[in-house]
Symmetry: C2
Subunit: 235 residues, 2 copies
DNA sequence: GTTCGAATACTCGACTTCGAGTATTCGCCT
DNA sequence: AGGCGAATACTCGAAGTCGAGTATTCGAAC
């Protein structure tokens, strides 16, 4: 039986915390909160407890003792096992060294944006841009505060990463917006025409046919890869 | 009863496809594949069928007819409802206009990287950098091919976005790596020392105590925010 | 001494996700 | 005429996710 692991990164956080020292689940959650790790690792109670149970079942952690403090309910203190420590390292190695496609909601929406008319998409992206600027300001403030109290950058490296991505998204949206406003994105006219026809109540098949005629160049790529490939060979 | 929606973006893709024209589930999956949308929207059969069922239960789509072609098994063709079309628009509006924190595995790993010794993390990030370069080359090739066959950029805008993020990650990792190699990231020495002590078998509490003494400046920020705030007021 | 909000510490079950597995059929090659 | 691989079209159940809800207790103020 190969030692398997849960898929939720929260389980990795649990392993790391227990690698530092034994703890009970609630303490894990408050420690993560204190260290601002909830900004980079999705934390919610339901998942925490089920993840801990799952780790225990797999033998990656074990109950060390149960204590009661004051008249508080009993808490189970967990400790990492040797296998658990091994798995933790393996997991970290994988996540750090091997990039894996992450699907974002925005990327999904972008890829389906053709379903809204271009004017509306432009409007919405303008809105997004304002929101992104707002988030950036907030993130800047947090990092500035950390620098002000002389917190070592090591402790917030993930925030710096997150900010780098935010900046990249901002630049992308800004650029895209400019192209939409200029109408210079190839395919734009077809997109507009398609929505015009839909608004006029033209049925799907007819729209497809009309567009195929009106925008033959834009759609040429889809016709026949063979022919194209052959052409290239011939010329 | 407010019309709710499933949370999986695949459901949004289904709505958009059915907004274009009625289809059966398998056709949805092949259409998405043809249009390369599987690169930006996670597609798997199990999810597809359960998402379709969920959409139907909520009245966002409906079975239009069931046909059998040749001797293939029966297929149910679905169509979008009016409510479904409305929800699709709402959903798109939300996703495009409002950025929402997305948790990536890499960000999680970065935030926990302290659990591995700095030398190993450096090594792993170097590996990641090589992998990222490789992925970038592949992504470039896909976009170049699209340009070569004159596919309108509109159809691959999500790929451009994805590439922008990839580029940003590359730059970040490169920069971080440089700082790690130079040992110039603040907190680096403490990080090294911590692993040195662990390797020597020093127990958790003692490590914490020792580091507190040896790296008092690095850890000053955590002591007492009040005192600091007061100091600022006083000076 | 009591009230009241914040913090502690979890539970529950409905909903989602996942991907490997199954069964069929088409079309080509021999 | 038969065999085989690719494509078609889905099913199933185990596992994971989620956040609202519950119950308690501590501490400070009144």
């Amino acid at each position: 039986m190969a030692a398997t692991r849960p898929s939720n990164p929260l389980a990795l956080a649990v392993l790391v915390l227990l690698w530092e020292r034994p703890m009970h689940p609630y303490e894990m959650s408050s420690t993560l909160r204190e260290r601002r790790k909830e900004d980079s690792i999705k934390l919610n109670y339901g998942s925490l407890y089920s993840v801990v149970e799952s780790l225990q079942k797999r033998g990656l952690i074990e109950a060390a003792e149960t204590v009661r403090e004051g008249r508080r309910p009993e808490r189970t203190i967990y400790a990492i096992t040797e296998i658990g420590a091994q798995i933790m390292v393996d997991w970290m190695v994988e996540l750090l060294s091997t990039p894996k496609k992450e699907f974002t909601q925005f990327e999904a929406a972008l890829s389906l944006a053709g379903a809204l008319p271009p004017e509306q998409v432009t409007e919405l992206l303008a809105q997004r841009l304002r929101n992104l600027h707002f988030h950036q300001t907030a993130a800047d403030a947090i990092l500035a505060e950390a620098a002000a109290v002389r917190m070592p950058r090591l402790f917030m490296i993930e925030a710096e990463f997150s900010q780098a991505l935010l900046k990249a998204e901002l630049a992308f949206v800004e650029q895209l917006l400019a192209e939409l406003r200029a109408g210079s994105l190839s395919g734009f006219a077809m997109w507009q025409r398609m929505h015009e026809l839909r608004r006029a109540g033209v049925p799907p098949e007819e729209i497809e046919a009309k567009l195929g005629v009106e925008f033959a160049d834009d759609l040429a790529f889809a016709q026949d890869d063979h022919a194209l490939a052959d052409d290239e060979g011939a010329t």
